[in-house]
C-alpha cells in the first residue's frame, strides 16, 4: 500500500458544505414526494369516478345466455325437432404451452383428422389468443370420456357442451321444417338491421329454411343475462345477478308424421311430390318431396363435398317440389275449367259434343288430338271429366277464351303464392294475354288457348296450388290459408315461480270466398270427380277399387316433350327427363271432405296419372282413414265385401279432431 497523502482537512467547512448539499437534496426529496403525492391525488380524487368505472367494467361482465330453441311437434305430439347436447373440443391458445405439440398429441389420442387440425391452425391465426378456437365440433361419447381422463395433460384444451338442433326424422321432414345453421355474415347483417343482434348475442344457429326460418322469431326466444365477476383470464369468479333466458315457443305443426312416412314410401325411387291438406282448415297433413336430404347435415356445417353432391345431383334434392316446382297441371284442372264453363254459361251439364278423336280450329291445318285415338263419341260435361276427354275441353276453352279462363283460375289461386308459412315458394305460371305480352312480348294465339284447356301450354302449377284450388272447390268457394303451424306453446312463469305451458291454437282468417252465380255448379263438378273414381270404367276407378272412404279425384298426364304435328309419344323412345309427368288430385269423403291430396310424379316410365299418381294418393288416404268406412249420403256406393266384413255398420265415421 503506498503511503497515504496527508490531507489537511477543514472539518467544519466540509461539514457546512455537506450540510448545505444535504439540505438541498432533502428539499429535492420533499419536492419529489409532493409530486408523487399530487399525482396519486389526481388519480384517486380528481379522476376517481373514471377509474372506478373502468375498474368495474374490468371485473364485471355481462354474459349472454342463449335461450333454448322451441321444439317442433307433429299434430299428434311426435317430436320433429329437438335440441341435443353436442360436445366440441376447444382450445385457448394463450393457456397452452406448446400449441403445436399439444394439438398433435390430443389429435393422436382422440383420432382427430389432419384436416381438422389444419383447419384449427388456420382459424387460430384469425382469433385472439385468449379466445377459444374449435378443434373438433362433434366429439363422440367415447372421445369425450377418453379426453376427460387425460384432460390434466392438456391445459388450455377443454370440452364444451352446446345444444344443437336435431331432426330425428332427418330427410322425412327437411323440406317443411327446413333447418338451422350457423349464423353467417349475411344473417348477422340482417339481424343488425332488424335490431336483433343483441338478442342473438349468445345464439349459434339461425333458421335458414322452412318452418325454422319462417317462425324464427317464435322459436328463438329471448336472451338471458348473467352478470358475473371475472378475473383477468376471463374466468368467472362469482355470479352477481342472473336474468334467465326465455325459451322459444314450442310449435305444433299440422303435419302427421305417419302420413309423411307413407308419402316417402310411396314416392321412393321417383321424383315427385305429395301435398295432403285438411280442406276444413287449410292445415297441411303431409308435404313430401322426393328425393329429400338430411337437414342435420347443415346444422353441423355441411362439408363442401356433401353440399356439392346435393347441388350437383340430377334429382335436385334441395328443391321442395311440393311448393317450388311448376308442373303442367294437365287434365287435373279439367274440373276447374268445367266450372268456369258453367259459370260463364258456355256449357250446361247437358251440353254434349261428339268426340271423333281430334279437334280442329276452323281454317287451320293443326289437328288437336284426344288421348284416345278413336275418340269418346258422344260426351257430356260429366263424362268429359270422367273420361278426361280432351276434345270437350278444347272446344270449351276455345269458346271461353284465355282471358275468362285465366281470370277464373287466378281466383282459385293459380299463378300466385299460396301464402303457406314457409318462404320457399314458387308462383308457377297462370298464362294470360298480358302475361305472354310481358314475358315474350308476343300476342296470344288461339291454339295456345286450346292447350290451356287441357292444362298444358305455358300453364304450370305447384302441387300445393293444386291442393289449395281443390280445397276451394270442395268447400264450394270457401278459401282457406294453407299452413303448417297448428299451435304454439309458450312457457308462462307466474310470479309465484310456477311454470305452465300455455298452448295457443293459431287461427287463420279465411280469405274472401269465391262466389259463383249459381251455387249448384259446384256440385256438378264435384260429382263428376266423384264418379271419376267411383264409376266403373272411369279414369280413376281402378286405383281406388276397394276403398271405403268414398274418394273423388281427377287424373292428369302432362306432356313434357313438345310433340310435332302427327308425332306419337312413346315413353320407351323418349329420353328419361322428357317423359310424361303423372298428376293426380283427390279428396275424400265426398260428403264433408276431410282430406285433399295432390300428387305429382315426374317422368314416369309407363302410363299416366291413373297408373302412377293415383295409387300414391290412395296410399295416403288409406293411411289417413284407416279402417273407417264412409258412404256418401246422396249416392249409392259400392263398398267392397272385405270392408263390410271388418266393420258392422255401413256408416261408421270416427270424427277427426278439427284443427
Amino acid at each position: 500500500m503506498p503511503p497515504r497523502r496527508v490531507v489537511i482537512r477543514n472539518q467544519s467547512a466540509e461539514a457546512n458544505l455537506f450540510a448545505r448539499r444535504t439540505f438541498i437534496a432533502f428539499a429535492g426529496v420533499v419536492l419529489v414526494l409532493l409530486i408523487l403525492f399530487g399525482n396519486v391525488y389526481n388519480l384517486q380524487v380528481e379522476s376517481f369516478e373514471k377509474y372506478q368505472t373502468r375498474s368495474n367494467s374490468n371485473r364485471i361482465k355481462l354474459l349472454a345466455v342463449a335461450p333454448n330453441r322451441g321444439l317442433i311437434y307433429d299434430r299428434n305430439g311426435v317430436l320433429l325437432a329437438d335440441n341435443k347436447p353436442v360436445y366440441s373440443l376447444e382450445v385457448i391458445a394463450e393457456d397452452v404451452e406448446d400449441i403445436t405439440s399439444s394439438i398433435i398429441q390430443v389429435s393422436q389420442l382422440l383420432d382427430i383428422s389432419p384436416d381438422r387440425q389444419s383447419k384449427f391452425f388456420k382459424s387460430m391465426k384469425r382469433k385472439r389468443r385468449f379466445k377459444p378456437v374449435e378443434l373438433h365440433s362433434r366429439l363422440s361419447d367415447q372421445q369425450v370420456a377418453l379426453f376427460s381422463v387425460n384432460q390434466h395433460k392438456f391445459p388450455g384444451i377443454f370440452v364444451s357442451a352446446r345444444l344443437k338442433r336435431n331432426y330425428p326424422f332427418s330427410d322425412l321432414t327437411t323440406h317443411s321444417l327446413g333447418y338451422v345453421a350457423r349464423i353467417n355474415r349475411k344473417d348477422a347483417n340482417r339481424l343488425a338491421r332488424e335490431d336483433k343482434s343483441e338478442n342473438y348475442a349468445a345464439t349459434y344457429a339461425i333458421g335458414k329454411r322452412g318452418i325454422e326460418k319462417y317462425y324464427e322469431n317464435m322459436l328463438h326466444g329471448t336472451i338471458g343475462h348473467q352478470e358475473v365477476e371475472i378475473n383477468n383470464q376471463g374466468r368467472v369468479i362469482r355470479t352477481l345477478s342472473y336474468t334467465p333466458p326465455v325459451p322459444g315457443k314450442d310449435l305444433t305443426l299440422t303435419l302427421d308424421i305417419e302420413l309423411q312416412m307413407i308419402a316417402k314410401r310411396a314416392l321412393s325411387g321417383k321424383r315427385g311430390a305429395i301435398v295432403a291438406m285438411d280442406p276444413r282448415t287449410g292445415g297441411i297433413l303431409a308435404m313430401y318431396s322426393n328425393p329429400s336430404y338430411d337437414g342435420n347435415l347443415f346444422v353441423h356445417g355441411i362439408s363442401t363435398k356433401n353440399y356439392k353432391k346435393l347441388l350437383d345431383s340430377k334429382d335436385l334434392p334441395l328443391i321442395n317440389r311440393s311448393v317450388q316446382s311448376g308442373y303442367p297441371p294437365a287434365s287435373t284442372v279439367k274440373p276447374f275449367l268445367a266450372l268456369t264453363g258453367l259459370e260463364e254459361n258456355i256449357v250446361t251439364p247437358s251440353t254434349t259434343i261428339n268426340d271423333r278423336g281430334w279437334y280442329q280450329l276452323k281454317g287451320l291445318p293443326n289437328k288437336y288430338r284426344d288421348w284416345k285415338p278413336w275418340g269418346h263419341g258422344k260426351v257430356d260435361l260429366v263424362r268429359a271429366i270422367e273420361q278426361s276427354c280432351n276434345i270437350y275441353f278444347y272446344d270449351l276453352a276455345f269458346k271461353l277464351g284465355i282471358t275468362k279462363i285465366s281470370t277464373m283460375m287466378e281466383r282459385f289461386g293459380f299463378g300466385d303464392y299460396t301464402g303457406i308459412d314457409i318462404h320457399e315458394e314458387n308462383k308457377a305460371i297462370m298464362p294470360s294475354v298480358a302475361w305472354k305480352r310481358e314475358r315474350f312480348n308476343q300476342s296470344w294465339y288461339t291454339g295456345e288457348t286450346l292447350s290451356v284447356g287441357i292444362g298444358q301450354s305455358f300453364w304450370t302449377v305447384t302441387p300445393l296450388q293444386l291442393t289449395q284450388a281443390l280445397t276451394t272447390l270442395v268447400n264450394h268457394g270457401e278459401r282457406k290459408v294453407p299452413h303448417l303451424l297448428k299451435a304454439k306453446s309458450e312457457l308462462i312463469i307466474e310470479s309465484s315461480g310456477k311454470t305452465t305451458h300455455q298452448n295457443t291454437p293459431i287461427i287463420y282468417e279465411p280469405r274472401a270466398p269465391l262466389k259463383l252465380k249459381d251455387d249448384s255448379h259446384w256440385n256438378v263438378v264435384l260429382e263428376a270427380m266423384h264418379s271419376t273414381v267411383q264409376k266403373f270404367g272411369a279414369t280413376a276407378h281402378k286405383p281406388f277399387k276397394g276403398t271405403t272412404y268414398d274418394a273423388s279425384g281427377k287424373t292428369g298426364s302432362a306432356q313434357v316433350a313438345r310433340l310435332k304435328q302427327g308425332e306419337e309419344y312413346d315413353a320407351k323412345t323418349t329420353s328419361e327427363n322428357q317423359r310424361d309427368n303423372a298428376m293426380f288430385i283427390a279428396f275424400a269423403p265426398f260428403d264433408k271432405p276431410e282430406i285433399v291430396v295432390a300428387v305429382a310424379i315426374e317422368n314416369v316410365a309407363k302410363g299416366g296419372g291413373a297408373t302412377n299418381a293415383a295409387p300414391v294418393a290412395r296410399q295416403i288416404m288409406d293411411q289417413y282413414f284407416g279402417d273407417r268406412v264412409i258412404t256418401s249420403q246422396a249416392h249409392k256406393v259400392n263398398i267392397s265385401a272385405k270392408a263390410n266384413k271388418k266393420v258392422s255398420s255401413p256408416i261408421a265415421t270416427t270424427p277427426q279432431e278439427a284443427d
Binding site: R5, V7, N10, L33, N39, V40, Q44, F48, K50, E229
Partner: protein, 371 residues
Amino acid sequence: MRSSGQEEQQNNTFWQRLHIDVPLLLGILVLLFLGLFIVYSAGGQETAVVYRKARSIGVALFGMFLVAQIPPLVYRKWAVPVFVLGLLMLVGVLLFGHVGKGAQRWLDLGFIKFQPSEIMKLIVPIMIAWFVSQDNLPVKISTVILAFILVLLPTLLIANQPDLGTSLLIASSGIFVIFLAGASWKLIGVCVGLASAFVPVLWMFLMKPYQKQRVLTFLNPEQDPLGSGYHIIQSKIAIGSGGIEGKGWLQGTQSQLEFLPERHTDFIFSVFSEEFGLIGVAALLSVYLFVVMRGLWIAVNAQHAFTKLLAGSLTLTFFVYVFVNIGMVSGLLPVVGVPLPLVSYGGTSMVTLMLGFGILMAISTHRRFHV
C-alpha cells in the same frame, strides 16, 4: 430531567453497543411489516408467499445486523479491490452469465447463483465516496471527471445486461456522492446538458427494442391497451379506483381478480393504493420520508467526509427506489424494473437494501472512527 437524560444515554449505549440505530430500525420495520400484509393480499392470499417474504426479512435483518458491526474504516480500506472484483464479475456475467427473463444478470459460481449488479449497488457508492474524499471538499473538476468514469463503467456494464433499473440506481448512487461532495453548480449544469444530448444516442444505439417499447408505451399507454400498455393502464385503474379511503385490505378487485400484473413485486404500490386509498398513500409516503430524514440526519452527523458521503448516497439512492417505483406505477415514469423498497416481494433487492441500512447503522454507531 437529569435522571431521564441519563436513562436515555444508557439506552442509547445499549443499542449503540449493538450498533443499531433505533429510529431507522423502527421505520424499516414498519415498511417490512406493511410489506408482509400487502404481499399476502397481492399474492392471492397465499400464506406460502408470506412465509417466504418473512424468511427473507429474517435473513436481511440478520445481514443488516452483521454489517452494522463492521467499522466503516474497513469499507474504505477495501474499496478499491472490491470495486475491481465487482467489475470483473460484471464482465464475467457478460461472458458466462446465466440468462433469465430475457436478461443476462446472474453469475453461476457452481455453489451459488447471484447477481453481481446487486452488490455493485453498495460497492459503487463506497468506491466513489472513497475516491472523492481523498481530497478536501468541495471536489475538483478533475476528480469529478474521474469519478464519473468510475461510475460509468459498472453502469454501462449493467445497462448492457440489460437491466435499466439497476444501472439507473447505481448511476444515481455515484452521482449523489459527487453532488454531496460539492461539485460546482456550473459543472452540474454542464453534466445535465451533456446527459440530455446523450439521450438520442442512447435511443438510437444503446436501447434494446423492448426498452424503447416501454418508453413509447409510457408516452402513450392507451395506444395498445391490451398489449404493452396493459400494465400501466391496469395499474392506474387500480390506484384511481382506490379513491380516498381505498377498497379495504384484501378487497381490491384489480389485484384480487388479477388484472394487475406483477402484483406482489413491481406493482405492489398499486395494490396498496387500491386497498388503502389516498390516506394509506399519505401514510406510506410519510414513513419513507421519515426513513430518508433519519438517513440524512445520520449523514450530516457522521464524523468524516467518507462516511457522510456514503451515508448520504445510500439514503438518497433508497429514495430513488421509492420515486422510480411509484412514479412508474402511477404513470409518471416509463416502466423500469425497480421494486418498492422493503415492501415489494423479492429477496435479492431487499437484502441489498438492508445491507445498505446496516452500513448506515455502522456509520451512525461507530463514533470513534479515526482517520
